[in-house]
Symmetry: C2
Amino acid sequence: MWPDRRLTDLLHIDHPILQSPMAGAATAALAAEVSNAGGLGALGSAEMTPDQITSAVADLRGRTNQPFNLNFFVGDAPVTDPAVLARTRDRLRPWYATLGLGDPPETLPDLGPSFDETRLALLLDLRPAVVSFHFGLPPAPALAALKAAGILILSTATTVVEAQALEAAGIDAIIAQGYEAGGHRGSHQPTAPAQGVGTMALVPQIVDAVSLPVIAAGGIGDGRGIAAAFALGAAGVQMGTAFLSCPEAGTDPARRTLLARATETDTMMTDAVSGRSARAYRSAYATAMEATREPLPAFLQLYGLTDPMLEVGQDDVASFHLYGQAARLNRPLPATDLMRLLVAEARAVFRSLS
Amino acid sequence: MWPDRRLTDLLHIDHPILQSPMAGAATAALAAEVSNAGGLGALGSAEMTPDQITSAVADLRGRTNQPFNLNFFVGDAPVTDPAVLARTRDRLRPWYATLGLGDPPETLPDLGPSFDETRLALLLDLRPAVVSFHFGLPPAPALAALKAAGILILSTATTVVEAQALEAAGIDAIIAQGYEAGGHRGSHQPTAPAQGVGTMALVPQIVDAVSLPVIAAGGIGDGRGIAAAFALGAAGVQMGTAFLSCPEAGTDPARRTLLARATETDTMMTDAVSGRSARAYRSAYATAMEATREPLPAFLQLYGLTDPMLEVGQDDVASFHLYGQAARLNRPLPATDLMRLLVAEARAVFRSLS
C-alpha cells in the first residue's frame, strides 16, 4: 500500500512509521510493540549509562526479533562561562524561591562528550539494526565503524543545509524535523526558540536537495499527517507525541491526563531548561526566560540548575513535558492497535485522494 | 480531479487555489490572471483608500469576469500608551542614526477602525464575489449586510478556538494559516512572534473542529503542498509567496532577485515593524528588537515610526519584505502558467499516492 518503499526496504520494516526515541517516555515495551507491529521502535539512549543501555536492549530483544533504533545525542563536552553561570543563578533565584527551594547550585555537572568511545564500542557489540543521532553526527571514524558493522544510520535535519551535510557524511536516511515537533530540535548548532521551519515547508525542500529517503517529523498525529508527508515527497514519518498516550509509554498519569486535553497552543519552544531549544508544555518559568533572552549555560549542563525545579513537579511553574503541536490528535490505544489504526487511516486517505 | 469539491462549488471556481491578497504585491493583473486560470485572485485592500479600491476593482473587472476576493483588516482604532511611544522612540534612535535619518517622529498617525462604514458601503456597492478578513471579523451587522448582498465571506484562523469563533459567526470558509506563512499572522489577538502552530499540525485539528471547508495556508509552494493539504482534510489552499515571482506581481526587481535565492531560513517572525507578528525577510532591526522584547505601539500606528526606516531601502538593516518559508519552491512564471503547473503537479501527486 505504501506509494514509496525506499524506507521500508532500507529498514526491513512493513510500515514506514518510526517511533521517536523519546528519552524516558519510550520504554522497551513501547519500542518492541511498534517494531512488532511493523514500524520501527526506538529507545532514547542519550542519557542512559552503558549498563542501562545493555539491559534495555536485552529487554527489547526479549520482546521482539524485529529491527529497532537506538538514539544518541552528539556534541562535545559542554563548557559554560562562569559569568553566564553566575547570571543564570541570579535569574533562577526567584524561581527557586517560588518553588520552595534553597539557593541554585554553585557548580554545574562536569560532562564528557555526548557520544563517546564507550558508547561506540557498546553499539558495535550490541549491533542494533539502526542507530540515530540528534544534533548532527559523531566523527567520521565512528560512523565508519558503525557502517562496517552493518548498522544503518539516521540523523535529523532542521534545514536544507543540515540535510546536505548529513547526506555528504554518508548516512542512510534523513529525518526532516519541523517546528511542530515535540522535544529537542535536532539542529546541528543551537538555535533560538523562535527559529524553525514548519514541516509543510521543510520536507519538500529537503527532498529536493538530497537523494536519500526523507522521514518527515513534526505535527504528524494520524493517518492524514502520514499521507500528507508522502504527498510532500517523504518516504516515511517519525511520530513521537502520538505514542505518548499508549499504555506502554513511560508517560506518568498526570501527564496522560494533560495530553488527553492538549491543544495545539499549549506548548512552546524553550532553551531555558536544557540549554537547547525544545518544544515543551508552556510553563511560567520558560515563558519568563523567553521574554528577555540572555546567554544560558551549555546544553545538558543547564540541567544542573533546572533539575531541582523540575523535580518539584509543578508543571505550570517549571517543567519539561515534551510534546508536539498535534497532541490533540492522540488516541490512548495500545501501540499495536495504534499502529494498525495509523496504517488503515493512511490507506483510507491515499484512496480518497485518487 | 479535486478529491474535495466543497470549496470549488462554494466559490464557483475550477481549482481550489486561492491567491493570497498580499497588499502591494497582489496587483489587479495578478489577481485577474489567477481568476482567469480557474483559481481565486485577490487584492489586499486593507490599506487602500475607497477611491483606490473602486479603481482597482474596475481594473480587475476589465481583465476578468470570474470571481475574485477583496481582503480587509479588522480592528478598532489603535491607541498607543505615550510611555510606550517614548520608549520605542528611544529604542529606534540608534537605527535611525544607522540609516542616516534624524529623530524618530514624535507623534503617531491618528487612525480609525480598520474596516469602517465607508468600506462596508463600498463593498455593498461593488459586490465582489468574495470578501476576506484578517485578524478576525467585523461586527455582526456588517457581516449580515455582506451576506444579504450575496457576498461570500472568508477569514483566517491560526488556532482551533479562532476557527470555532469564525464558524459561529456564520462565515463560508476558514483559512487555516500555519506558522510557515509569509506576511501578517491572522490571529484574532496580537501574538508574540515565537507563537504559532505549523500547517501540518493546524489543518487537521481545525478540520476536526468545524464543519466549514478549510483552506490550508502556510508553507505550500507547489503541487506537493497542495496535495498534502488535501491529505490533511483541507478543501483548498491559499498561496501567496508562490505568486510573488510572477511577472504580474508588484514585487520589485531587487526583491525578485532575493526570492530567486531564498532559503527556508531567511525569514523571521517580527512584530517590530507593524505592531503585529508577521513573517518577513530577516533584518538586523527585527532581530535586535526580538532579542529583548518590550511593549510596542499599536498595530498600524507603529508604521509611523518604522516607515522612514523601510523607505531607506536597506533590506538587511530594516525592511518588511513579506514572504513565507517555502519561497525556495517559487517558479518565475506568468500566473496562468503557474496555475496550470500547480494543478498538473497536484494531480500527479494524487495519482502517485493511489
